[in-house]
Point group: C2
């Protein structure tokens, strides 16, 4: 039937344009290839015919004999989380500006899905895969490399040869958080973290606890639930319900911090910063909201992305681990300093 033919032939090819413009097929290709040699007259004819016929270069086909596909894979879980969403928004924006195309691969759920994601990326001959959550099997990474793909791990610092590992200096931030709480005069200091936390989130906890040990102060640790607002509510409730109620809490995530603040306000009638000092991490949009006004750490998103793009566009990039300082953002969820700096 004719339907079969139409569903087969419906694409406009370079040859159609060539025939319409009365030039050879290669001239069409050259017209759309920057730096190729075509006369102005030919180019004009081609462009006009292409416009009329609605022709667009088939990048699937052109990727075949060019070495670059122009596609970059973004692998991430829980992409509706504020910080993750902001990261993806920025990354896709910048990739686009750099002439790349982003393929989004959602890996929420099983950890196994990172593997499937990378296999998919390989299938589409992605130039690079930027992994925002989780980490691949080393052998799988090798398969990526052997197919000419670059690998970026954000927020992972494990030893992973051949890739770029980049993220904030989580330990240093944890340390800074403790100092800030001490300087605010907090006497009973606590930490609220999720039991299902990412590697990088656990690093923040470690940095915080290490600094506490160094300073010789006890820290009340409450670890439970997921990295979510709801977990924050519960963690906050558990902490504030104690007899030795803490007066300073470091939350490993802004979402948790928001939950803790709401628990304090709605369930205990406590206010930040007067009754309770709270510090978060990520600087999500809600941290700026008037109801929270959260003192927190801003992820060095811009610098991370800068480095990402630069590394990915390098010809033969070498393995690299980059730790960038997270900027401490002073707002109003922590008591003004009572203890003077020495």
């Amino acid at each position: 039937m004719s339907e079969k033919v139409s569903s087969r032939k419906q694409q406009v090819r370079a040859e159609d344009v060539a025939r319409h413009a009365g030039v050879s097929r290669v001239s069409v290709s050259r017209t759309f290839t920057p730096g190729a040699s075509v006369s102005d007259a030919t180019r004009a004819k081609v462009l006009k015919s292409a416009e009329i016929l609605g022709y667009r270069v088939n990048r699937l086909a052109s990727s075949l004999n060019r070495s670059e596909s122009g596609i970059v894979a973004l692998v991430a879980a829980e992409i509706d989380t504020p910080h993750r969403a902001a990261m993806i928004a920025e990354l896709s924006e910048r990739l686009q500006a750099a002439g790349k195309v982003t393929m989004l691969i959602n890996t929420s759920g099983y950890e196994e899905r990172v593997k499937d994601a990378l296999l998919q990326a390989i299938s589409f001959r992605t130039e690079a895969a930027i992994i925002l959550s989780g980490a691949p099997d080393p052998s799988l990474a090798d398969t990526c490399f052997s197919n000419g793909m670059k690998l970026v791990l954000i927020n992972r610092e494990e030893d992973f040869p051949g890739s770029l590992q980049i993220g904030p200096d989580n330990r240093a931030a944890g340390k800074t958080a403790l100092k800030a709480l001490l300087r605010a005069g907090c006497k009973r200091i606590a930490l609220a973290n999720s039991a299902n936390a990412t590697w990088s989130i656990v690093e923040r906890q470690k940095g915080f606890l290490a600094a506490a040990e160094e300073a010789g102060v006890d820290v009340l640790c409450e670890v439970d639930g997921f990295t979510s607002y709801q977990a924050g509510l519960e963690l906050g409730t558990a902490l504030l319900d104690r007899e030795d109620r803490p007066d300073g809490i470091f939350c490993t995530t802004d979402l948790i911090a928001c939950g803790v603040i709401d628990a304090a306000r709605q369930r205990f009638g406590l206010r930040t910063p007067d009754d309770l000092s709270v510090i978060g991490f990520d600087n999500i949009q809600q941290a700026e909201w008037e109801g929270y006004d959260l003192t927190t750490f801003a992820q060095p998103t811009d610098q991370i992305i800068d480095k990402c793009l630069e590394w990915c566009t390098t010809e033969q990039p070498s393995s690299e681990t980059v730790k960038l300082p997270a900027k401490f953002v002073w707002r109003n969820s922590v008591q003004k300093a009572r203890v003077p700096m020495k």
Copy 2:
């Protein structure tokens, strides 16, 4: 130099696998093509060799002579906005489950970028483009169709032949919002909306105002800023600062509603629902947070996506406009009914 060769030849091809397994190249192709005829012995050999060599079918190449690329474009602006992010998370998840691959195109900024986005989608022979914000030029849409691409417009109901237009029934929701405020006994009713609102958001406003006129009540209209929390803060401040301070506000967006509630609480010491009733729209995650506990409308996300996928996988789908009811979500930002239902 050898580097040039390696950067050229580094991809593992079906032919390499064939040679390694001692079979013909087509047998490799058939092994990875569901339903093709290969003997178990051959398939086993091929799979083993493929595993060893790290071979993956090049989908760019296979898309050339199959008619389907498996790629679906997601076109959206401001993808770090809570509702948008949730939508993208769900969509990418479901597309993946349906065996599709999602290409994310960020169109924040100029309206013109929707055009570039679609041109890019055509270049990659995307099977469909799902547009979450903005609308394309009709002539451009035709180019899409002539290249065999399907078009879905979410949250647009303009007449757009050849595409699926789907979204919540915004007018009906506006109407429901007004009734709810009246039933709560509100005397001075207001509407808070952004001056840069989307088409669908304006529909909510129209529905609300139409219902008000029908009921013979005056509505205080405050329209300014962007569709953001900050705009909500300012709109709320402006409204609550008036002599005839409103006691019921419909916000066309949850983000605006959160801003209004915070303005009430932080700047005027007013609480919902006692001093003020507030209704939002979108049912973003923050609406559920204890500090807001916002009564709002849930977008029929699941049904929208169901319909999307079904329509996109239909062979020759016909133009269709679908309006789905938005579910009213009762929480605690609106006074309990003082006026009995009649």
